[in-house]
């Protein structure tokens, strides 16, 4: 390396004025696609939310009418409540189960690696594969779960059970990813901390309470944050398993937005829902970060 350097020094050093050619050549492709298919649509979402546009035709400017309607729209508030309910049923269970699976499969060994693979495989499946399988497993008359338990429960068409059933499928489908994050977190805890603790006579739950839990806390906050946003964005599982029913009991915000845009072809109003959805996610993340940073200190 030094040889190359010294051979370079005799030449007069060019001033570090930027050479724009390569910069433009390297950045333009990314920025062009990024602006065209990310930034421009983001601006358009706001613009559309101020119009009464349809799905294919552009409508007139209507000011904040869509937002006024939205604030008084019981269906919208219901959909927010359903989304919150789904998040309640998934965020903490997915975090807790992910942590538990990581701790159970942490310590080497072929069997534990096999178990990790079993827990992670559902996560790499397309959502429609996961829902097809669960629709069959939970089929009311022919499904294996009802055959074993001798029940006739219609899991996805009972208003009281539909959302918990969707949440259960979601936990099965996605918990492997959280397990992965916790496994990485566990690896960062130095082994000698455990050894020191066991010399001090700490055992079982005490080790978890005083060593594992506090050391894992940064991972836990990361998982909670990612999971809350992911749960709030619930669409596909609900759409495929229940379609938002029965009696709209599982109609979450994005299903409501989808129906408004693509069934009622009301793009303007759907965009207002999208803007409200974005603001809700932003607020949620801010509040959560505030709460989690307080608990840490």
């Amino acid at each position: 390396m030094t040889a190359i350097k010294s051979s370079a020094t005799p030449k007069p050093r060019k001033a570090t004025a930027p050479v724009w050619g390569p910069v433009i050549f390297l950045l333009l492709p990314f920025l062009a696609v990024y602006v065209a298919f990310f930034i421009w649509p983001a601006i358009q979402t706001i613009v559309l939310s101020l119009t009464n546009s349809g799905l294919t035709e552009t409508g007139a400017f209507v000011g904040l009418t869509n937002f006024k309607t939205l604030m008084a729209d019981a269906s919208f508030w219901d959909s927010l409540r359903h989304t919150a309910y789904f998040s309640l049923l998934t965020v903490i269970p997915l975090t807790a189960v992910g942590m538990m699976l990581a701790m159970l499969t942490k310590a080497g060994g072929r069997l534990r690696q096999f178990a990790q693979a079993v827990f992670f495989i559902p996560y790499v499946l397309p959502v429609s594969v996961a829902t097809l399988i669960w629709q069959w497993v939970l089929n009311p008359s022919l499904g294996v779960v009802n055959a074993v338990t001798g029940s006739e429960t219609a899991w996805f068409s009972d208003p009281a059970l539909a959302m918990p059933a969707v949440a259960a499928v979601t936990i099965w489908w996605t918990v492997g990813f959280n397990m992965l994050l916790f496994l990485a977190g566990l690896q960062n805890i130095p082994q000698d901390v455990y050894e020191a603790a066991s010399l001090d006579g700490a055992q079982g739950f005490q080790v978890f309470r005083y060593i594992t839990w506090p050391s894992l806390w940064p991972t836990t906050t990361l998982v909670l944050t990612l999971q809350l946003v992911a749960s709030f964005k619930i669409f596909s599982q609900v759409y495929l398993l229940t379609g938002g029913g029965p009696f709209d009991s599982t109609r979450v915000v994005l299903v409501y937005m989808y129906n408004t845009a693509f069934t009622d072809t009301n793009a303007g109003y759907a965009s207002a829902i999208a803007v409200a959805f974005f603001i809700a996610i932003l607020l949620l993340t801010l509040v959560q970060n505030f709460l989690l940073s307080r608990t840490r200190s």
């Binding site: 390396m1 950045l27 827990f119 594969v129 022919l142 294996v144 992965l180 994050l181």
Partner: protein, 278 residues
């Protein structure tokens, strides 16, 4: 003594719990596999028939030879490969500029590029659909691919990696008169083989599994990708449970095999994409 006994119980309890959980997680997949190997009459039999007798691959051959499944496979393979390759190239080029070149506004542009990570894609669906409609890209491969080419996280990960490569590597090559693209291609890319693999596999799995956007932008069955097409199976193949499960197994098989073959790289890729590992 007490400590030892307690820890033995802990281990036993842990193993039993783990065994039950593994069974619980594997059971739905196994049941789907068993169902797909049954003749249709056994799949829907009451009382339940536990094992296929005889096991048959008829469901697989019939869904692979009739209907649109082969088309969906082809569409998914094509779009996922293009998305993976183009995403990697775009991200690596941008990351190289952000990492190695100095120009005014560099940091500002970098944060602008990362800001896309904050935007929920779901909030962009309606204008994206209108845009694709105006471009005549509904029900086309281009329509499926175009909005999936941007990965702020890939730019971020590539940049972090390029930043660690000693500056002298590039400086020496510049003195030798190499162009920036050449330097990137023959010095930086070979050094980042690991990160390219990891990001590539994760991008591929993500593109293969993407449901929402292809579902919005396609409505003619011939143009659908596999995950979207699978939602049509009950109308395409009728209410045949054994065939439906054969379709589900075939839909999941490529990603399961990819995961099992590249397990460590998949894990690394997901971790680096979540920002936990550089």
């Amino acid at each position: 003594m007490i400590a030892a006994r307690q820890s033995v119980w802990m281990v036993v309890l842990g193993v039993i719990t783990l065994g039950l959980l593994v069974a619980l997680w594997a059971a739905p997949l196994l049941w789907a596999l068993i169902t797909s190997l049954k003749p249709e009459l056994q799949a829907a039999a009451q009382p339940i028939v536990w094992l296929p007798s005889p096991a048959t691959f008829d469901n697989f051959t019939s869904v692979l030879t009739t209907g649109n499944l082969p088309r969906w496979y082809a569409n998914s393979v094509t779009s996922s490969i293009i998305i993976t390759v183009v995403t990697l190239i775009l991200s690596a080029m941008a990351a190289y500029a952000f990492s190695q070149l100095t120009f005014p506004g560099r940091n500002l542009l970098f944060w602008f590029a990362l800001a896309g990570f904050m935007l929920p894609f779901e909030a962009l669906l309606v204008p994206l659909y209108k845009l694709m409609n105006n471009l005549g890209a509904i029900n086309t491969l281009a329509g499926i691919i175009l909005p999936q080419l941007i990965s702020p996280i890939a730019v971020f990960v590539f940049r972090q990696f390029f930043d660690q490569i000693p500056k002298e590597f590039r400086e020496a090559a510049v003195v030798d008169g190499a162009t920036e693209l050449r330097i990137m291609w023959s010095i930086f890319v070979p050094l980042s083989a690991n990160i390219i693999w990891a990001l590539g596999i994760v991008t591929f799995i993500g593109a293969w599994n993407n449901f929402l956007w292809p579902f919005i932008v396609t409505n003619s069955p011939e143009q659908m990708t596999l995950p979207v097409g699978l939602t049509q199976v009950q109308s395409a193949y009728g209410l045949k449970y054994a065939q439906t499960m054969a379709v589900a197994i075939l839909g999941g098989l490529p990603v399961i095999l990819a995961y099992l073959a590249f397990q460590r790289r998949v894990t690394e890729g997901f971790l680096s994409a979540s920002g936990l590992k550089g």
